[in-house]
């Protein structure tokens, strides 16, 4: 921006008055905009920046969550974070959960959204049914599903399997099956919500595009890959970002379904952080874990955004 030197020094020379009025007008406009941003800036400062600063500070101390008498310990807490077996196990499971949930939900939600966008009898009721799992608390869903997936022959799923003459499946007692079960319940709970998100984007695509494609002789597959999918790309970016960040921060579903077991098979990073800070009264270590975790989430989200943008351009 070019600013007149005469205005800056405050000397009104002949011919500079209109410029000063313009600058004043610009300044008032800019200030008005800032005033609108002020409330959210205060919220951001109070609920994010200050706690983040505190977490960074605590991560360098031996703070136990009780006593204010802190001792600076340098990067000791960070070294421990990378050598703790439960942290390493939980890191593997958390990434498995977040990535597999993101892939499966996306693969199911887009076709579901296209199906829900068609005209058929009872369409609104069907949409509501698919959206319903997103309404109850995920912790409640975890408790309900722990009965459904009970490894006993009396478990709901095992009862059905028993009716066709097959043996019980140890859904929650085998480490690998327990991991898959948490993903299954998460997919069940989130697919409907993300399908509604895609549906909103689908409804904003003008029907003229499809009519023109039909006139050009494009079949259903071609219309999907060359018209629907490229126009849904921004929705895919948003949906995947929500799924990835939610998956990386997950605590409630695996905890209510398996309590993090068997062993550390379904223990999440959030669970380790909460336990370390509250259960073990090691706020310093928990803060270091939280900082490392935040950086990991940030790196994953930035990478996901960059890849999604590149794919959007390619589509």
């Amino acid at each position: 921006m070019n600013i007149d030197r005469n205005v800056i020094v405050g000397v009104a020379l002949p011919g500079t008055v209109p410029r000063m009025q313009t600058l004043r007008h610009w300044w008032r406009e800019a200030m008005a905009r800032q005033v609108f941003l002020l409330p959210i800036a205060v919220v951001f400062l109070a609920l994010f920046l200050i706690p983040l600063g505190q977490t960074l500070w605590y991560s360098l101390t031996d703070f136990n969550g009780y006593s204010r008498a802190l001792r600076f310990v340098g990067i000791k807490n960070y070294v421990r974070a990378f050598t703790d077996p439960s942290m390493i196990a939980s890191l593997g499971y958390t990434f498995f959960y977040a990535v597999s949930t993101t892939i499966v939900v996306t693969a199911l939600a887009i076709p579901l959204a296209i199906a829900l966008n068609q005209h058929f009898l009872g369409r609104n009721a069907v949409r509501a049914v698919f959206f319903f799992p997103a309404i109850p608390s995920i912790a409640v869903l975890g408790l309900v599903w722990s009965f459904i997936l009970s490894p006993l022959p009396s478990g709901a799923v095992n009862t059905v399997i028993g009716l066709v003459g097959l043996g019980s499946v140890p859904w929650l007692s085998d480490p690998m099956l327990a991991r898959l079960s948490t993903v299954l319940v998460s997919v069940w709970g989130q697919t409907g919500w993300h399908a509604i998100l895609y549906l909103a984007y689908l409804q904003s695509i003008p029907s003229d595009f499809y009519e023109a494609a039909a006139i050009d002789g494009a079949n259903a597959r071609q219309r999907f890959f060359h018209l629907t999918l490229p126009l849904l790309a921004p929705a895919v970016t948003v949906s995947q970002m929500l799924l990835l960040t939610g998956g990386l921060k997950v605590f409630d579903l695996p905890y209510t379904l398996t309590k993090g077991g068997p062993g550390y098979a379904t223990t999440t990073l959030s669970q380790v952080i909460i336990r370390r800070g509250l259960g073990e009264a090691k706020f310093g270590e928990a803060s270091a874990l939280a900082v490392v975790f935040m950086l990991l989430v940030l790196a994953v989200v930035v990478a996901q955004f960059a890849i999604s943008r590149r794919l959007e351009r390619r589509l």
Binding site: F147, S150, P151, L152, S173, K259, G263, L278, G279
Partner: protein, 420 residues
């Protein structure tokens, strides 16, 4: 202007005189009425809910009309510990609060709780309860109850295989489980998912009691190790799974599911504590059940899983010390203990009150009273939560068949070394 001013001054003088007269009359009247003292408000943060504590608090307030209890609570354990931690940090903690196994070290080491050693009310406490919430010979918590757990059995199902009395040794217990299995009855479920491993804790407690009872201190001081002390009891416990007497499916069962299976007679025995009885009777009021103590490797020896219940502590920063002392004195009285036992069902262990217990507990009450109870988490001097998490995870791995009993001890030794 002058006249107006004069008039105004005249009005002001009149008003002042009236105000002075009114104050004089009011003052005389107030002096004539005897002063009513405002009751002192004593804050109390509990992990028992209001329904449990209400009768006790009402009785206290009736006996002490000059003290009002401001009650608040958070459910155990993590939510309570977290809330108390936050309140202590912000200097808003209650005058009286609960000290539990999970936070006792932090509270005592941080100087947040007052030494109660000199008070009379401490004398009614069971010595084991006193030791559980003490350090360096001082007492920091008024613990009035203990819980004991063992093996709960469904009499109708055990009668089917001819059990006339509870097994006297661990081998007899395994033989009973085999008989039940052969008869097509699921023998036993344990809380492997939650870590409520009643038989294992009892077997460890029995082994430790034979060695003089201070084995945990020796482990923590480096004189012995978890691997050396735990492998024996763990190997006995692992036989249940290695011999196929319990399905490894217990890894995926919550405590509620186990209770449900037991109450609906789908399993003959379960590891249980007294808190399970109301839920089981709620589901199946007709069920005939009894506790048995966990039999040891030698015939005739038995032990229980259990621990002293959390205690009441006085905030060392309280401004109402006298009232807090009165409250704890009342809580330890037979009247309050009786009320608390009735509202909570807790197994109280104070010297001057004998609780009226569920008949199913009759077989194990003597063991609780004699403190033949053991729970690792309350016996470890520090790092309880870190070791408990590691212990549950490694025992789950052992039950899944991934590691041997000795590996559990090795993992606990490594965790202990890491927490130094």
């Amino acid at each position: 202007m002058i006249g107006k001013d004069c008039t105004h001054q005249g009005h002001s003088r009149g008003l002042r005189r009236m105000a002075a007269a009114t104050m004089l009359i009011a003052g005389s009247l107030l002096a004539a009425v005897p002063a009513v003292a405002e009751p002192t408000h004593l804050s109390f943060f509990s992990w028992d809910n209001e329904q449990v504590m209400k009768p006790v608090i009402a009785a206290f307030e009736e006996a002490n009309p000059d003290i009002r209890i401001d009650f608040s609570n958070a459910p155990p354990v993590n939510e309570y510990v977290q809330t108390l931690q936050t309140r202590l940090l912000s200097n808003t903690a209650a005058d009286v609060f609960i000290i539990a196994a999970e936070n006792k070290n932090a509270l005592i080491d941080g100087g947040f709780v007052k030494d109660l050693s000199g008070y009379d009310f401490i004398k009614t406490m069971n010595p084991q309860n006193r030791a559980a919430y003490g350090a360096d010979g001082k007492a920091y918590g008024l613990s009035l109850a203990s819980w004991g757990g063992g093996i709960l059995y469904n009499k109708a199902l055990t009668d089917k295989v001819g059990m006339t009395e509870p097994p006297k040794s661990w081998d007899e217990f395994l033989a009973l489980a085999k008989k039940l299995k052969d008869a097509g009855i699921t023998p036993y479920y344990d809380g492997v998912q939650s870590g409520n491993l009643m038989p294992l804790y009892a077997l460890i407690g029995l082994a430790f009691s034979k060695e003089g009872g201070n084995v945990d201190q020796k482990i923590f001081s480096g004189q012995t190790s978890f691997e050396k002390e735990w492998t024996g009891p763990l190997s006995l416990y692992a036989k249940l799974y290695d011999d196929g007497l319990i399905s490894r499916d217990v890894l995926g069962l919550s405590d509620d599911q186990i209770v449900n299976e037991f109450a609906t007679s789908k399993v003959a025995m379960m590891g249980a504590g007294p808190w399970n009885l109301p839920a089981i009777r709620g589901i199946n009021p007709q069920i005939e059940m009894n506790f048995m103590a966990v039999p040891g490797p030698v015939s005739g020896e038995s032990f229980l899983s259990g621990a002293p219940s959390p205690g009441y502590a006085i905030n060392s920063a309280t401004e109402h010390l006298q009232q807090a002392e009165a409250f704890l004195t009342f809580l330890a009285s037979p009247e309050a203990v009786k009320l608390y036992h009735k509202s909570s069902g807790a197994i109280t262990t104070t010297a001057d009150y004998k609780p009226d217990l569920d008949p199913a507990l009759a077989a194990i009450y003597a063991g609780i009273e004699a403190s033949r109870i053991y729970l690792p988490m309350t016996s470890w001097p520090r790092a309880q939560d870190a070791l408990h998490t590691e212990m549950v995870a490694q025992i789950q791995n052992m039950v899944a068949g991934g590691i041997k009993p000795a590996d559990v001890g090795k993992a606990l030794d490594a965790k202990l070394a890491d927490s130094q």
